[in-house]
């Protein structure tokens, strides 16, 4: 498809096609999508470590309520205060959802590999690309800064429901400057992701190389492309929502604050706003965001699995169709977060139907993965193990969606640990497994060195068992009515569940410790790993046709690969059992 856009874009990218000089341009303010991709991943690494530590503190407090967690409770040196717990929870959620699950699989791997997989020399808009990272970085700094402001960071949860989040410090500690910084941070994040999404879309549509028809794009590229379309719409709704929230907080407007609220016996001056407006705006972003986090995982798994089953993935077109269907449906289901929010109960039914329907494409995809393992020549590596693990946890997490999608059952389960277990499995753990799989698979191409497989397998085994021990029990105590977002469980009917919380805490610390193996492996291999051959996994897609690992500045050393077939050409019965997408030599 030769469009005027394509030419302009091509020109734009040609402009910069000589490698930059100097440390700053090369490693810090680089226009190279590969550097930006690594920067995103490093940011995600810092974020995930932060978020994980926060979750340890929370679990410690829940498992051992009277344990003195020392200096960690700023309000009180010897024990975690309720507000500090909620602040940890809010920051854990925000950091993980925005700065890990969105940046790593989408912005990180996507930036590095999408242009290569479509055979482009760089992103369509390299300057936007750089801007997108640095804006995101700024957002992260802003968020973390709120730990150091008086009364600490926001405590209204990653969903920041108004008016708690909108009214200001009257609503309690954490609702002062901390909450404002939260809103600013998320607004900045939206800008960053919008720039990224535009870039991904333009690159996919206009910079594909010779013969790279849409149908021949790797699944990962398809996933990133779909994700960026979702993101473009989702973040462009969250951005104004955050701006309105900021205005409510600092400019005295009342978008989300109704009249006649009383805090500490004082009537507030706001009037005319609607708390439900925030919920609708937030979840219109929030539910697609779940798929922004998981769809790249779909793509990465579908991309990696065939390389280790050594056979084509079942129904590639079906798979891509399902991903698109999920992306589309994700915009019709946001209300299932609001069944009990006081919106018209009839709309609950309207929202629950597409929510249940979305399980159909999800089921198809899962079955396609499982079916693709049948009769395979399965090669067990850290990467393939995490793919298989992904399928397992995605099933475990997805199934519980059946319950929460139904308003009647949600009437009981809403706001319990059942929900926490559900989204941690399906969104958190599954997406993390996708990230791990991608890391083990692509690391050789990204850093030119192999990771240690033995450590990788240990990492998988411990993590896989660990996450089941943490998150499965959450479903049980959820059924028993254990309410989420409680800093301690004082209610009589929750007392019998405390041992379960202790168990989950121990499991969480154990699993967290297992991640140290990964970090060690990551850093050691980066500098000491054995040099990587150009195509260690015998994979087909273009990133493995690049002349070197890591690829040269323009990815293909001045040449433009010609693609003759799709990426799914495994299991051929000749001298080699796979056909590279760019088999040609000229």
């Amino acid at each position: 498809m030769t469009t005027p856009v394509r030419e302009t874009v091509a020109k734009l990218t040609e402009l910069k096609h000589q490698p930059p000089e100097g440390f700053w341009r090369r490693y810090v303010f680089s226009l190279d999508h590969k550097v930006i991709g690594r920067q995103y991943l490093d940011l995600a690494l810092v974020a995930v470590i932060t978020g994980m530590v926060l979750s340890w503190l929370m679990r410690l407090h829940l498992g051992y309520p009277n344990a003195s967690i020392g200096v960690l409770g700023p309000a009180n040196p010897s024990q975690m205060t309720p507000e500090y717990y909620l602040q940890l929870m809010t920051m854990h959620g925000t950091i993980m959802v925005f700065f890990v699950l969105t940046t790593a699989p989408f912005a990180g791997f996507g930036n590095f590999f999408l242009p290569i997989q479509v055979g482009a020399e760089d992103m369509a808009f390299p300057r936007f690309n750089m801007m997108s990272f640095w804006v995101t970085f700024l957002a992260f700094v802003t968020l973390v800064a709120s730990f150091f402001v008086p009364e600490g960071p926001a405590l209204s949860g990653w969903t920041a429901y108004a008016p708690l989040s909108a009214i200001g410090k009257e609503a309690g500690p954490g609702e002062g400057l901390g909450q404002t910084l939260w809103a600013i941070s998320i607004a900045l994040f939206c800008v960053g992701q919008l720039l990224g999404a535009l870039n991904f879309i333009a690159t996919t549509l206009d910079l594909r190389t010779k013969g790279m028809s849409l149908a021949r794009m790797p699944f990962s590229t398809w996933a990133w492309f779909t994700t960026s379309v979702i993101g473009l719409i989702a973040f462009s709704v969250l951005l104004p929502a955050c701006i309105l929230l900021i205005l409510d907080r600092v400019a005295g407007t009342s978008f989300f604050i109704p009249a006649g609220l009383v805090f500490n016996d004082q009537v507030q001056t706001h009037s005319g706003g609607s708390p439900l407006l925030w919920q609708h705006l937030f979840w219109f972003f929030g539910h697609p965001e779940v798929y922004i986090a998981i769809l790249p995982g779909f793509g990465i798994i579908s991309h990696i699995l065939p390389a280790f089953t050594r056979k084509p993935l079942l129904g590639p077109k079906v798979l891509i169709g399902c991903m698109i269907a999920i992306g589309f449906l994700s915009y019709t289901v946001w209300g299932h977060h609001m069944f009990l929010s006081g919106m018209n109960p009839f709309s609950a039914i309207l929202f629950s139907v597409p929510t249940l329907i979305i399980t159909i494409p999800a089921t198809i995809v899962t079955l396609l993965w499982i079916g693709s393992i049948y009769g395979a020549r399965l090669r067990i590596t850290a990467a393939s193990l995490f793919c298989l693990g992904f399928v397992s946890v995605f099933v475990s997490g997805g199934i519980s969606g059946f319950f929460l999608a139904q308003p009647s059952i949600d009437t009981y389960l809403h706001g319990t640990y059942f929900v926490v277990g559900h989204f941690h499995f399906v969104m958190g753990v599954a997406a993390m497994f996708g990230i791990f799989a991608g890391t083990y698979f692509w690391f050789p191409k990204m850093y030119g060195r192999m990771m240690n497989e033995t450590l990788g397998k240990w990492h998988f085994a411990l993590t896989f068992i660990g996450v089941y021990c943490i998150f499965m029990p959450m479903h049980y105590i959820g059924l028993a009515g254990n309410v989420r977002r409680y800093s301690s469980f004082t209610d009589d009917y929750l007392q019998p569940l405390l041992p379960v919380h202790k168990f989950m805490t121990i499991a969480a610390l154990f699993t967290g410790a297992a991640q140290l193996i990964f970090f060690y492996n990551l850093f050691r291999s980066r500098f000491k790993g054995p040099p990587a051959p150009p195509n260690p996994w015998e994979a087909t897609s273009l990133e493995w046709s690049t002349p070197a690992s890591p690829p040269p500045f323009d990815n293909f050393g001045g040449k433009h690969p010609v693609v003759t077939q799709g990426p799914n050409e495994y299991g051929t019965a000749g001298a080699k059992d796979y056909v590279m997408q760019a088999g040609g030599e000229a």
Binding site: G315, V562, T572, Y578
Partner: protein, 282 residues
């Protein structure tokens, strides 16, 4: 869409044989060694691997053709470069099979080793269905290649003389870099501009294979569809072998021939008349 497993293939084959088998017999099959290829299953593979460049109709107008140079082969003309058979005759199934397996160096034609021999045989069978010639004509009988004599400096010098005499250099250039005076004027059978082969490129391979026998075959059969003619009538086998040995010296490699040549040039370099028009007429 992707279940081209043996089972499915055979099933499809069975069906197609029932439908079309009887009417068009031989043109639907290929015989490579003891493998029999079937066009019906070849078609599936073609649609999957080849159609992108060679096009659904085998006319070389696939979606990628616009970007590819030299252009993908047009199977409808029934002209093939790399053959073991005399010029103007059809290639043997083995020729097509070898060409496909080998890929064409310095072009976009990949090496198809990843496909099982059976699959490649099937593809050969299907490719043959594009040109009516295969249903009307028989393939030519492969030329006989006498055993290769040892390379000697004399032989190489004779070969060099032949290179001059037969004006190979007009197209391939004095140094065999494909930059001869008339190089720019050449067009192939479809009037597409075509560049004479550069012996220094794609080493150690030649377009139709890497062995001396392959080179011998190249100019004794000619590359049909390209301006490269057959010199079967002008050359005796011994001259042909001399020419092969000389061509080897044009490759930037330490082939035995090149070593002999370099050694000689080191001492007698001065006596050497440059290849080219100057002493052409004499």
């Amino acid at each position: 869409m992707r279940h081209h497993s043996a089972v499915a293939a055979l099933a499809g084959l069975g069906v197609l044989l029932l439908v079309t088998g009887a009417s068009t017999g031989a043109a639907q099959e290929s015989h490579v060694g003891n493998i029999t290829g079937h066009a019906a299953s070849g078609k599936k593979l073609y649609r999957r691997y080849c159609v992108g460049c060679h096009g659904p109709d085998g006319d070389g107008n696939g979606e990628n053709a616009q970007w590819i140079d030299p252009k993908p082969r047009d199977f409808t003309a029934g002209l093939f470069k790399c053959r073991s058979t005399p010029t103007g005759t059809l290639p043997t199934d083995q020729d097509l099979f070898n060409a496909m397996s080998r890929g064409f160096v310095t072009t976009n034609m990949p090496i198809w080793e990843p496909l099982a021999a059976q699959n490649r045989a099937d593809l050969v069978a299907y490719i043959k269905t594009f040109s009516p010639r295969f249903s009307t004509e028989k393939p030519g009988t492969p030329i006989t290649i006498p055993p290769e004599p040892a390379a000697t400096i004399e032989g190489i010098l004779r070969g060099r003389a032949t290179f001059q005499k037969l004006e190979c250099w007009k197209c391939h250039g004095p140094a065999g870099h494909g930059d001869g005076p008339s190089a720019s004027t050449l067009t192939d059978s479809k009037d597409e501009p075509i560049r004479p082969y550069n012996f220094a490129a794609g080493v150690p391979r030649f377009m139709c294979g890497a062995t001396n026998q392959d080179i011998y075959r190249d100019f004794m059969t000619g590359l049909d569809g390209s301006p490269m003619p057959s010199f079967a009538d002008q050359l005796q086998p011994s001259e042909a072998w001399d020419l092969v040995h000389f061509l080897r010296t044009l490759q930037p490699l330490d082939t035995p021939e090149a070593l002999i040549w370099k050694q000689w040039v080191a001492t007698h370099g001065s006596e050497l008349k440059p290849i080219g028009p100057d002493n052409g007429g004499k």
